[in-house]
C-alpha cells in the first residue's frame, strides 16, 4: 500500500521468536488530512512471544496507542490500517486478524485478546453496578454466567479486592486504583490469552501503579497470559517486562530484552530518554532533557526520523532509512547506523550492570 520509502528493511530484520502468539508485519495506519497524509504507524513489524511481557514504550504521539489498536483491528475511522496481523491460538489454526468479519473480530476481542485502557472511570457505565458489567460481558459472548461470575470473584480476590463489595458497587463508589483493578478483572473474565494494556496505570499514583504491576505478574503466571503493556514510562515497566520495544516517530527504533535496554541500549533516542527520566539514583546534574521535539506525523523527516535531534547524525542518516539491524546480539535490534558509537557519545547517567551471558 505504501509508496513512501524505497528500502523496506524492517520486515526482513524482524527478530522472530520461537513461539509467537501475535505476529505483526508491516502494520501501517494512515489518516488522509487536509494538510497531507498523516502516517501515525509506519511499517511496524514485531513478534510477540507466547507468555512474555512486552513493554511498548514511547512518548505522547509516538504511535504506541495506534499499534495497540492495530493489534485488535480497532483503528478508528477514517484511519486506514494495512499490513498483516496473525494470531496463533494455543491450539488450532492461525487467525488472520485483519481478514475477520465483524462477528469474528467480536469473538477475537475479549475472548482471545483483551484490552484495558487508561481511565477506568470512563470504561464503566456509571449507571450500572460493576457486577452488571461482568454479567453483560459474559452474556454477550454466550458464556456460562454462573461459572463466569465465579471466575470474576476469584479474579477480583486475586487483585486484592473484596469481590462482593466491588460487584455490588457503582464505579464511582470505588477509588481509582480499585476501578482499574476491577477493569483488569473484567478484561480477564472471558479467559483471553493476550492482555493488551494501554497506559493502564497512568492516572494512578505511583504506589498503586507499582502494586498493580506486582499483581499483574502474579496473574500472568496463574492464568498463562501474554501481556503487552504500553506506556510512556520506561522505568515503570522495565522491571515487569521481559522485552522492551521503544517507539519514536511512529516506528520501532529499538527492541531487546529489558536488561539489555537498561544496561546497553544502542539507539541514541533510547539512551537520551533514559537520561532524561527523573529518578532517585542519578546525580541531579546529569538528568538532561532531549533537545528538540518529536515530529509531526504529516511531516516526518527523511532518512532516520530521529536525525534532527541526534548528536550522531551524519549525511547517511539524513538521506537513508537505517532499518532494523541486529546489534550486540541477534536479539537486540535497533534502527541506527551508528549504534556502535552511541554508548560513548551518550553515556548513561547511572552505572548499570551488564549481564553478559
Amino acid at each position: 500500500m505504501s509508496t513512501h520509502e524505497p528500502t523496506r528493511t524492517n520486515d526482513a530484520r524482524t527478530h522472530e521468536v520461537a513461539d509467537p502468539i501475535l505476529e505483526i508485519r508491516d502494520a501501517e495506519v494512515v489518516f488522509e488530512m487536509d494538510r497531507g497524509v498523516s502516517r501515525v504507524l509506519d511499517n511496524v513489524s514485531i513478534d510477540i512471544e507466547r507468555g512474555e511481557v512486552l513493554g511498548i514504550v514511547g512518548e505522547s504521539g509516538s504511535g504506541k496507542s495506534m499499534l495497540a489498536s492495530a493489534m485488535l483491528d480497532a483503528v478508528v475511522d477514517p484511519g486506514i490500517l494495512s499490513g498483516e496481523i496473525t494470531f496463533h491460538p494455543p491450539d488450532g489454526e492461525p487467525v488472520d486478524v485483519l481478514a475477520q468479519d465483524q462477528e469474528g473480530i467480536r469473538e477475537l476481542r475479549w475472548e482471545d485478546i483483551s484490552m484495558v485502557f487508561q481511565g477506568a472511570m470512563s470504561s464503566f457505565n456509571p449507571t450500572m453496578k460493576v457486577g452488571g458489567h461482568f454479567e453483560e460481558t459474559l452474556k454477550a459472548h454466550e458464556y456460562d454466567v454462573e461459572a463466569g461470575m465465579e471466575r470474576a470473584r476469584e479474579l477480583l480476590a486475586d487483585l486484592y479486592l473484596e469481590p462482593d463489595r466491588v460487584l455490588d458497587s457503582f464505579a464511582h463508589e470505588l477509588s481509582g486504583g480499585m476501578q482499574q483493578r476491577a477493569l483488569i478483572a473484567l478484561s480477564l473474565v472471558l479467559e483471553p490469552d493476550v492482555l493488551v494494556m494501554d497506559e493502564p496505570t497512568a492516572a494512578l499514583d505511583l504506589l498503586m501503579q507499582r502494586s498493580i504491576l506486582a499483581l499483574l505478574e502474579e496473574l500472568k503466571a496463574k492464568y498463562d497470559l501474554t501481556l503487552v503493556f504500553i506506556t510512556h514510562d520506561l522505568p515503570l515497566i522495565a522491571e515487569l517486562a521481559d522485552r522492551l520495544a521503544v517507539m519514536y516517530a511512529f516506528e520501532l527504533v529499538e527492541v531487546a530484552d529489558s536488561d539489555s535496554i537498561l544496561s546497553r541500549a544502542v539507539h541514541p533516542y533510547t539512551r537520551s530518554l533514559l537520561n532524561a527520566t527523573p529518578n532517585l539514583d542519578a546525580p541531579l546534574s546529569e538528568m538532561r532533557p532531549i533537545e528538540g521535539s518529536a515530529p509531526d506525523p504529516v511531516n516526518v523527516p527523511e532518512g532516520c526520523s530521529y536525525h534532527p535531534r541526534c548528536p550522531l547524525a551524519d549525511e547517511e542518516c539524513v538521506s537513508q532509512d537505517p532499518g532494523f539491524r541486529p546489534t550486540h546480539t541477534e536479539d537486540h535490534l535497533a534502527a541506527c547506523f551508528h549504534w556502535e558509537e552511541a554508548s560513548e557519545a551518550i553515556p548513561f547517567n547511572i552505572e548499570r550492570e551488564v549481564n553478559d551471558e
Binding site: E59, S60, Y160, L161, E162, S175, G176, G177, M178, L204, D205, L206, L207, M208, Q209, R210, S211, A214, H232, D233, L234, P235, L236, A238, E239, D259, L262, S263, S272, L273, L274, A276, T277, P278, N279, L280, D281, A282, L284, M287, R288, P289, I290, S293, I350, R352, E353, N355
Partner: protein
Amino acid sequence: MSSTEPLISLKDVEVHFKESGGTFDFFSEPETVHAVDGVSLDIEENDVVCLVGESGCGKTTLGKTAIGLQRPTGGSVSYRGQDIWQAKDKKGDVEVPYGDIRRALQIIHQDPGSSLNPNRRVMKTLEAPLRRWQKDMSAGDRRAQVLQMLERVGMTPAEDYASRYPHQLSGGEKQRVALVRALLMDPDVILADEAISALDVSLRVEMMDLMLELQDQFDTSFVAVSHDLSNARYFAAHGGGRIGVMYLGRLVEIGPAEEIINNPKHPYTKVLRWATPNLKEEASGEPPVRAIDIPDPKNPPAGCRFHTRCPEAREACRGETPESYQVDADHEVACFRELDDHEYWSSPELAGEGPGNEGEQSSAD
C-alpha cells in the same frame, strides 16, 4: 526580604469536609472527610516545597490552603504575618488587603488543557490578568509584556504562539502558557498542582528547569504537589527546597530533598521510595505495605494513621498519635521509631495481621 515573618505560615491547619448522604437522606449524620489535620508549615521567600503522597492524602488540599484558596476549618494561615481569612472577612486590623494576597498567591493546575479557555487565543488569555491588575497599562505595553514572557519560556516566535488557540499547542506548551499566566501576576508563591506529572517523562526535566530558572528571575516560591518522588526530588533538590510527605491528611515527614530521598525515616516515606521505579536492575519484589488501598479518609485509623498498612507497626501505634520529632535541623518525622525510649519498642508487632488485604482494617479504637 528583610521581614522575619515567613512568607506563608500555616499553624496547626485542619481542613474537614462535610459530606452529606444526598438530598433525600435525612437520617444519617453527615460524614466528615479529614482532608488535612494538624499541619504546621512555613514557606519562606524563594522557597521550594514539594508535597508528595498518594491520591487522597490531602496534599492538594493543603497546597490550596497554603495559597488561600481553601478555607481551613481549624488553625490559621497567614501571609507575611497577615491572617489570610481575617483579611478576607475584614476582621481585626487588616494590614494586607485580601486582594493583594490573592494576587500574590497563584496556581498552575494539573491539566493545562482544561485550565485554558479553548476559545481564546493565547494572547487574550494572557492579557486578562494584566487588564485586571494593571489597569493603567496601555494595550501596547500589555502585548509587549506578554510577548516578552512567551519568549522567556522559550515559546518563539512569540507572535506566532500568541495568536494560537490552546488546541494548537502541545501539552508542554500549554503548561508553559499556564506558567506565564501565573507569573504575569508577579506572585510570591505559585502552587504547581501535579503540573509536571501530566507531561511526558522526557519533558519533565525541561519543564522543571524552566520553572526553577524563572523562580530565580522573579523571586517566586513554589509549592509543588506531586505523587512522584523522583519529580519532587529533582524539583526540590535543584531549588534548594524541602520535600514534605503526606499521609491521610497528616504531614508525616519533612526535610531537605536529598535527605528525604537518601535518609528517609518514616516507614511511609520508605514505601514511597520503593514505589518509585529505579533504573537499576534490582528486583523490588512485593510492595512493603500490609494493605494496598489507602483507608477511607472519612474514618481515618486512630493513633498513627499509617498503622493499618505500616510494615513496622506495633500495638503502641494504634493508641497514640505520634508528634513530629526532630531528626536534624530541618528534618522532622512523625513516627515513634525516632524515639529510642518509646514504649513502641516493647509493644507487640502488628505485622502478622493480614498482609495486603484491605478487608483487614484493624479495629482501631
